[in-house]
Each structure stands twice: as C-alpha cells, then as structure tokens.
C-alpha cells in the first residue's frame, strides 16, 4: 500500500511486474533502468541465479518528480516466475499498488500464462485484494520472436484468453529492444496514480 505523506506532499507507491518464469519481467526493469535514466533514483537490485532466473525479486526505484504539488516516488519490483516460488511472490506482492502482468507471446507458453494469471488472482485474494479493482496492465511480450521463426500467439487470441474478463489496458512488447515497455509503464503509472488519487484525494 502506498505511503502518502500529505504534510510533506510525498507519495511512494509500489508496482509489481508479475508473470510466468522467463516471460521477461526482469528484462522490462533492465530496459527501464537503461532508458529512463533521468527518472531512476537509485540502483537496480537484482538477485538471480543459475540460468538468470530471478530467485527473490528485482527492485528499481524511480521518481516521477512533482505531480500536482506532490513528489511521487515509485518502486518497481519483479517476482520470481517459477511455480515453486509462490511464497516469495506473496511476500513481494505485499503492499502492492499496481501490477503489470507480463505474458509470454510464445505459443508454447500459453498455459504458463494462464497458470500465472490465476496465481496472481489467488495471491491478491489472500491479501484481501481484488484483481478487478487493482490497477492492472497486461503486456504481451516477445512479439519480436515471430521474426525468428518461433510460433507466437496472435494478439487477438491472447486478448481473448487473458483479458476477456479483466478488460484492462494491454500492450504488445519486445522488452529486449524496449518496444512497448514505455507504453506499459506509462499506463500502469497512470492507472495507479489515478487509483491513489481516488482513494486519498491527494491532488486536491
């Protein structure tokens, strides 16, 4: 949950990049770290292990400057995607204000996307949060792999399978090259700040 200090006009919120293992969550943060240098306010902390798999989480602090007189700071986190790290995902989700769900566009990862989205839903529920009410954005990552000859799911199919009920903003992306990463980030920041504004009326 966001830390809002109206006296000092400071807002600190937490956005978590969620999704199946190897879908590109860390790559998203790495790209943001590289491309949004002006906004990055601290170092990126990444704890990975064999095969570059995130074991705990990645962390990147960014500052959005003054918005309606408030100094807005955002903490970006990723979760470990592998199924066995459910407990860690629950820990990282604690206090979340917005979620980016990074889905893998590869056809062979179709089922993993669905399992991970269900896992997000369950973990939020355990924390008393509703996936339909929390600021959420979907990203369909790895679109570029189609050019390399790998079977990629059509966007329409991904929309139907993952976003039919949620109806949240979604973006095709290739996190490695950065395509779509900025759009995704902008959308989740906008939704999250709007949600906080509705809750705390900080911009008044």
């Amino acid at each position: 949950m966001a830390v809002i200090n109206l006296k000092n006009r400071q807002i600190e919120c937490k956005i978590v990049f969620y999704g199946p293992g190897r879908s590109g969550k860390t790559t998203n943060l790495e790209y943001i770290h590289k491309a949004f240098k002006k906004q990055v306010t601290g170092k990126m902390i990444s704890i990975d292990t064999e095969g570059d798999r995130t074991l705990f989480f990645d962390f990147l602090p960014i500052g959005l400057g003054k918005i309606k007189g408030c100094d807005v700071k955002v903490q970006l986190y990723t979760v470990p995607g592998q199924v066995k790290y459910k407990a860690t995902r629950q820990l990282v989700l604690k206090g979340v204000d917005g979620v980016v769900f990074v889905a893998d566009s590869l056809a062979v990862r179709r089922e993993k996307n669905m399992i991970s989205l269900k896992d997000l839903h369950e973990n939020l529920q355990k924390m008393g949060l509703n996936i339909r009410k929390l600021p959420l954005v979907l990203q369909y990552n790895k679109r570029d792999l189609e050019d390399k000859g790998l079977p990629v799911m059509p966007l329409k199919k991904m929309e139907h399978e993952l976003n039919r009920q949620l109806k949240v903003p979604s973006f095709p992306a290739s996190a490695l090259s950065g395509n779509g990463v900025g759009n995704t980030l902008t959308a989740i920041l906008k939704l999250t700040l709007q949600s906080l504004q509705n809750e705390f009326k900080w911009a008044q």
Binding site: V3, F56, T88, P151
Partner: protein, 307 residues
C-alpha cells in the same frame, strides 16, 4: 532424403536452439527430442550418426541444466544491498513487527529464507524486553524451517532451564513451540528430549591437550552435498575452537553445514600428527569487514578426540 523432412528437422532444431537461448529449457528439451525422433525415423539423412550424437549431447546438456535449476533452493545467500531491501520492504506495515522496525526486518529476512542472517539479528533482539518473546518465536521458527527440529528443541529447553523468560512469556512460547512442532510434523517430544544433546556439548578435551591444527577433514551432514568428505584449512584456532573461512561462492558447501551439527569421524591434521575425533558446529557467520567481507567463518568446537 525427403526434402520436407529435412526442412522440418532444420525448423525444429532452430526452434529448440532459440528456446534454449531464451532459457525455456523444458520447451527446448522437447524440441531436441522431437528432432532426434525425426532423424532416427530415416536412414537417408547425410551424416546421420554425427547428427544423432550432437543431439544426444544437446539433450543431456539441457536435461542437466533443468535438474541443476530444480535443485536450487530459495535460501541462497544474498548480498547486503538485497538484505537491506528485504528488511525495508516489511518494516512499514508488518503486523509481526509489533512496532519494531528491527524485528520486522529480521522476520522479513527469515521469510525470504535468509535464516543465518535472520537468526543473527533475532539473537541480538533477545536482549530487549519488549521484543524478546517475538524474537525467540522467530528463532525457533527459523531452525524448524531448516529441518533442525532437534536443535530448536534443545534451544527451547536451554531457555526454559535458564528461566530466560518470565512465566507469562514462557507459557506463550511453549504454546507457540508446541504448535510449530505439530505443524512441522517433527515427532520429537519436547519433554522427552531433556537428556539429549544440549545446544553446545561440553568438550571432553582440555584446551592445552589440543595441538595446533592446520586442516580438518569432515563429512558434510546435510544439504545437497550430504555425506561428502571435505578438507578445510584452519584460519584461526583458540584451544578447542577452530575457525575456517568459506568463500561466499561455495553456496552448496555453506548450505551443507550449519550451527548445531554434530560431526563424527573428523580427521584433524597437525604439522606433527593426524588424529581423529568429533566436533560440534558452534557458529557460522558472514565476515562484515576487511578483504574477506561477504565470505563466511565456520567455527567448530572439538568435543572429543578418539585417537
């Protein structure tokens, strides 16, 4: 050779390579196996045996990588930056913190599987009246999580014998510990263990009886390297206490030995003699300063000399 089949083999192999390079190992393995099946199904392919050999190597390599990743435990040691962050993440609203940022931080470390560091911090908090009970509960939880039920029991007994907690807290701790042991499925009866080994067994040897030791050989008691014999150089000795430095990169070794472990069949090497005995792992902690910062010190108390 059938042209379609050749194209198919090429396509599948290319896919397998791409999956592998993206870390999608299960998918890569499946594709390599599919390619192998296709190659085996025909005799008209050029250099068939060479291709099959190459595929076999690919399949083995991928399979081994998958197994290696499966073995990784989410309790690996992390650097100080990450630890600080883990602590910070939970100091603002953790109900278990009960008003103490320090306790919340230590609990967060424990939840992330950083048991050694968490226990180190929780032990410090035992000195504070207001935090003592929660710190003790979390220390016991950390030991049980690492499957050191027996050690947790003996620690609990030590506190009880020493009347470390006032009656109300002792009662609360007992209720918590009983529940913890029940949930963990460990069968030790807390009261029946009075006679079992204590926290740190008394040594049968006097300090001046022990020669200067240059190295020890011991059998790792747990973890992925359980049963393996390792030889470690002694970096410091004070009587029956010997200390060794273990590099932080030796993760599997570090996970295979922990405080509370009783080490039988140890071999001690001194410049003038070799002798056998038993030891007790009395401490393991990170080095916080100096050129070895981040590495670990393992301390063993020699409790018995056999010959």
């Amino acid at each position: 050779m059938n042209m379609d089949l050749g194209d198919k083999i090429k396509k599948y192999f290319n896919e397998a390579e791409l999956y592998f390079s993206h870390g999608l190992l299960a998918e890569a393995l499946e594709k390599y196996k599919a390619v192998e099946g296709l190659v085996k199904s025909t005799r008209s392919i050029r250099n068939r045996d060479g291709i099959l050999k190459k595929l076999k190597r690919k399949i083995e390599e991928t399979d081994q990588k998958i197994k290696k990743i499966d073995r990784i435990q989410p309790t690996a040691q992390v650097n100080e930056d990450a630890r600080s962050l883990m602590k910070e993440m939970y100091t603002f609203d953790d109900p278990e913190a009960k008003g103490s940022a320090a306790l919340g931080g230590a609990v967060a470390l424990a939840k992330f599987g950083q048991y050694d560091k968490a226990i180190e911090e929780l032990n410090r908090l035992l000195e504070y009246d207001k935090l003592r009970l929660e710190a003790a509960k979390n220390i016991l939880w950390c030991w049980v999580q690492q499957n050191y039920g027996e050690y947790a029991v003996s620690l609990y007994q030590k506190w009880r014998k020493q009347k470390f907690f006032p009656p109300e807290e002792a009662e609360s701790l007992q209720a918590y510990f009983n529940e913890l042991m029940d949930k963990s499925g460990l069968e030790q009866e807390i009261d029946e263990l009075e006679s079992q080994r204590t926290i740190e067994p008394d040594s049968e040897v006097e300090d001046d009886e022990i020669l200067d030791i240059s190295a020890v050989k011991l059998i790792l008691p747990r973890g992925s390297r359980k049963g393996e014999k390792v030889e470690l150089e002694i970096s410091f000795q004070s009587g029956k206490y010997i200390q060794m430095i273990i590099l932080r990169k030796e993760k599997e070794l570090l996970e295979s030995i922990s405080p509370g472990d009783l080490l039988k069949n140890m071999i001690f090497y001194s410049p003038v003699a070799i002798f056998y005995g038993e030891g007790f792992v009395s401490n393991k902690h990170t080095i916080d300063a100096g050129p070895k910062k981040g590495d670990f010190i393992l301390e063993i108390k020699i409790i018995k000399i056999v010959s």
